[in-house]
């Protein structure tokens, strides 16, 4: 999306489409009246009625897309909250004589309350099982509504009468449009706020989101609840023009409507589902009028076409248009797939200065303050002891390497330190705080950054956004549902991007950069989080010799300039001995020895361990 058109033209086009959409929505009643004049068979009232239903469907679908498009959750229970909204209005009116407008004001809160409670339950499972759990919840709510004859009216549904002022189709249309507009504005604010940025980062990469300090579960529950709140408004508006709530609104298959509509319009844009809603309503009424059974087939064919023609997943829909566009028109400025930063990082590196401060630090380190202290840490998987009774200390300002043959427990140790796994026993003290067994997002906030063995960034966000969102999370701004995330920390992120040699590429999607540059982004994210200790899990794995040199120069420079403490594991011994000041050797889950690189190099046990492995490898074991 970001590279579709030059910025200015893209913005103008986007706002043009938005304006046209709103203008069209505002003009539906007069247009319908005009059409009736030209073509007396077309009833203006019916057309306005359809317009109202399209507005409500748009609101419902956009609220669904808050989950689907912005966090990647597939819920089968969303229709239930829509139904709860409608029933809230109906039951308050019928049983308690509450005016329907008051009911409409209450509907979102009742729906949100039901959404919050059921969302807490649904969150106990992830991905597919989350979806299946929402299916069970949805059917449960449906059965309750369907069977509670006395309270809900059972399969007869529950009817209301709207006040006289709203019985006129045009008035009701504008009333609905006003409510929908307010809701869209609120949702749009959320989407581009720091809170929206947190949600986007969860969709992009859950692991990285947690590693920048975002409590993934809490944010998912929040958006689930917010989505059910707006579904409640949509349900409340539904009953104003249908004057009836019925149990099928809650049945699990009812979720197909917002999903299909979101797909039709595109899940990656905020207003996409609104366009989808209008297309859907038009299709529904042109096709199903003449061919009542064919509508399902057409709908199915459309969904199939969208799903199968967008190989990057549904969230990648605009890329289809980009690809189609490129197929028909080879544009001149079609550039840059993997780009290289051309060694900027190295050119900026002042060797003499770095060496000088290096010398000072090397002495300080071993007498210095302990930043991370690991005490008798163990982790068992069934009978396997992956990490056993490991104790070690990382001094402030040190560059500490952990080496050892495959299976020595290095990666497990890292996972224990950053909270991906909980230790079976032992303690981890960081900067005076006990962080043993804390979840990743909490540990990230205490000041431990991590570059994973498999590069973990937000690939579709720009380089700058990667850093901005980390800064937002670090500053605790991501709870804000207002403000514009992309304008916050703009300069700071740019500065940091420049510091790691990626300033020129700050506006590119991070996933388009070369492997080495993506590594640099990951390290920069740690810096954006203000991490005092940075863990690097095989920082040069899979890199060419050139990339390795470049990456390690960058790491050393940043560590020096920014007084970072490094803890890294690495197989490439030249990297270890050129960078580390302290080396710990692990073997079969235990610490074998520790010392300066020279001491370790000449330790006979270490030689035996590595030789032993070499012999085994030679034997083909």
């Amino acid at each position: 999306m970001t590279r579709l058109l030059p910025d200015s033209r893209r913005d103008r086009l986007r706002w043009g489409v938005v304006l046209a959409l709103f203008l069209f929505a505002a003009l539906i009643p007069p247009l319908a009246g005009f059409e009736e004049n030209v073509n007396p068979d077309a009833s203006a009232r019916f057309q306005i009625f359809l317009g109202t239903s399209a507005l409500v469907l748009a609101l419902w679908a956009i609220s669904y897309n808050l989950m689907l498009g912005y966090t990647g959750m597939v819920s089968f229970a969303h229709a239930a909250y829509y139904g709860v909204g409608a029933y809230t209005v109906a039951i308050l009116f019928k049983r308690y004589n509450v005016p329907v407008l008051v009911g409409l004001a209450a509907a979102p809160f009742v729906a949100a309350a039901v959404g919050l409670v059921t969302g807490l339950v649904a969150q106990r499972a992830v991905r597919l099982y989350f979806s299946l759990l929402t299916l069970a919840i949805s059917q449960l709510l449906f059965s309750l509504v369907y069977q509670s004859y006395d309270f809900t009216g059972g399969d007869n549904g529950a009817a209301i009468t709207v006040p006289d002022q709203l019985t006129d189709y045009t008035t009701l249309y504008y009333f609905t449009a006003a409510v929908v507009a307010v809701c869209l504005l609120l949702m749009f604010m959320i989407v581009r706020s720091p809170l929206g940025a947190a949600l986007l980062s969860i969709r992009e990469n859950r692991q990285r989101a947690a590693a920048i300090g975002i409590n993934v579960k809490v944010y998912e529950l929040a958006i689930y609840t917010i989505a059910s709140l707006f579904a409640g408004v949509a349900g409340g508006l539904f009953i104003f023009y249908q004057q009836q709530a019925y149990p099928e609104m809650l049945y699990w298959t009812a979720n197909a409507q917002p999903v299909v509509v979101s797909l039709l319009g595109g899940t990656t844009t905020f207003l996409g589902p609104a366009i989808g809603a209008f297309i859907y309503v038009v299709l529904d009424n042109t096709i199903s009028k003449q061919f009542p059974y064919q509508f399902d087939i057409v709908l199915g064919a459309i969904v199939l076409a969208v799903v199968l023609a967008a190989p990057g997943g549904v969230s990648d829909l605009p890329s289809v248009f980009v690809r189609l566009r490129e197929r028909f028109r080879r544009s001149d400025d079609a550039e840059e797939l993997p780009v290289e930063s051309a060694g900027d990082a190295i050119r900026m590196f002042d060797v003499r200065k770095a060496l000088a401060s290096d010398a000072i630090q090397a002495d300080e380190v071993h007498s210095g303050k302990t930043l991370l202290s690991i005490e008798h840490l163990s982790k068992q998987f069934g009978g396997l002891r992956a990490v056993e009774d490991v104790s070690l200390e990382v001094k402030q300002g040190d560059r500490h390497a952990i080496i050892g043959p495959n299976g020595a427990g290095k990666s497990t140790l890292f996972n224990l330190l950053t909270g991906q796994m909980k230790p079976s026993s032992g303690k981890v003290i960081f900067d005076g705080r006990d962080i043993t067994g804390k979840p990743p997002h909490v540990i990230a906030r205490t000041g431990i950054g991590r570059a994973f063995q498999i590069t973990t960034i937000f690939p579709k966000l720009t380089v700058r956004q990667n850093l901005q969102y980390a800064m937002l999370a670090h500053g605790g701004y991501t709870i804000r549902p207002f403000g514009i995330a992309n304008r916050m920390f703009h300069a700071e992120a740019q500065e940091l991007a420049e510091a790691v040699g990626l300033g020129e590429w700050a506006d590119l999607p991070a996933g388009q950069l070369s492997h080495g540059d993506q590594r640099a982004i990951e390290i920069a994210i740690s810096l954006a989080l203000g991490s005092k200790l940075v863990l690097l899990d095989e920082p040069t794995a899979g890199m060419s010799a050139y990339e390795t040199d470049k990456a390690m120069e960058l790491v050393r420079r940043l560590a020096t300039e920014r007084h970072l403490t490094l803890l890294f594991c690495e197989h490439d011994m030249s990297v270890v001995f050129s960078t580390a000041r302290t080396v710990t050797v692990m073997y079969q889950g235990r610490v074998l020895t520790e010392g300066t690189p020279e001491q370790v190099r000449h330790n006979p046990d270490v030689q035996k361990v590595y030789l032993g492995e070499l012999e085994q490898e030679e034997l083909g074991a």
Binding site: Y129, A136, I137, Q139, Y149, V259, I297, A301, L308
Partner: protein, 292 residues
Amino acid sequence: MTPGQLLLFAVGGLSNAAYLFIVAAGLSLVFGALRVINMAHGSLYMIAAFVTVVIANQIGAGLGFWAGLLVAVAVTGAIGGIIEVLVLRRVYGREHLVQLLGTYAVSLVVAGGVRITFGANYRTVLSPIPGHIDVGGYSYASYSLFMIAAAIVIAVGVWAMLYRTNLGRNIRAAVADPDLLNATGVNVTRLYTTVFVIGAGLAGLGGAIVAPSQAISSSIDTDVLVLAFAISVIGGLGSIVGSGIGAVIVGMVISFGLVIPATNPYALAFVFIIMTAVLIVRPRGLFGRAES
């Protein structure tokens, strides 16, 4: 509740379990091997039910039903093959959302097709095994007992297919590591088609067998699908034994839930309460493997 009533409702529960097991086993088999939740599974069941009813009513009860059953299974198996080749092959290994939507789209197309072909009215067919057996003052429909027996035979058959044949060995290997299996020279692409055809055939068998015991309409696809989901989740997606246990639990809950006055309206709600509880306490179900 007297012992006689207890037996009556238990048999009722088992005959529910019988057809639900056959359908859920197909869903679970496909999920186990292909890692795809087939939203069109209920549609195949519905097609088979209509085909059976139409053929049985043409030829006449008895022979007509058995002919209808065979044709229905063949038709659903063939449609399953077409769906696998045209749709599923493109969604393997992609997000669950894409798989759910792709197969859901198929179910929409099938639902429309069924309504055009067979109309929206209810259809019924006479039981091919009429009569009943009286035990302890209550009578049991022979056909219900046949359904239970048929489910047991199919359970044994599926088990034997999985654990006693080359095909079954390959399927189990594909569940564990499809790439490795491919490297050993097995055509995994064709194996997947075969598994999906078998799964579709089981949905068809379930639909054919249920036809004489229920009124068939064009909305039975989603009703059975959601119950098959519940069963597979309770028993563990991918586990045939789990489908059996899950089907018995769901069948019994529906049967007893409906006859106990206090719970009568909420029989189905109980099914979903159990499903919710299982997903919370043990997401992989009673017999499912942990997802890697």
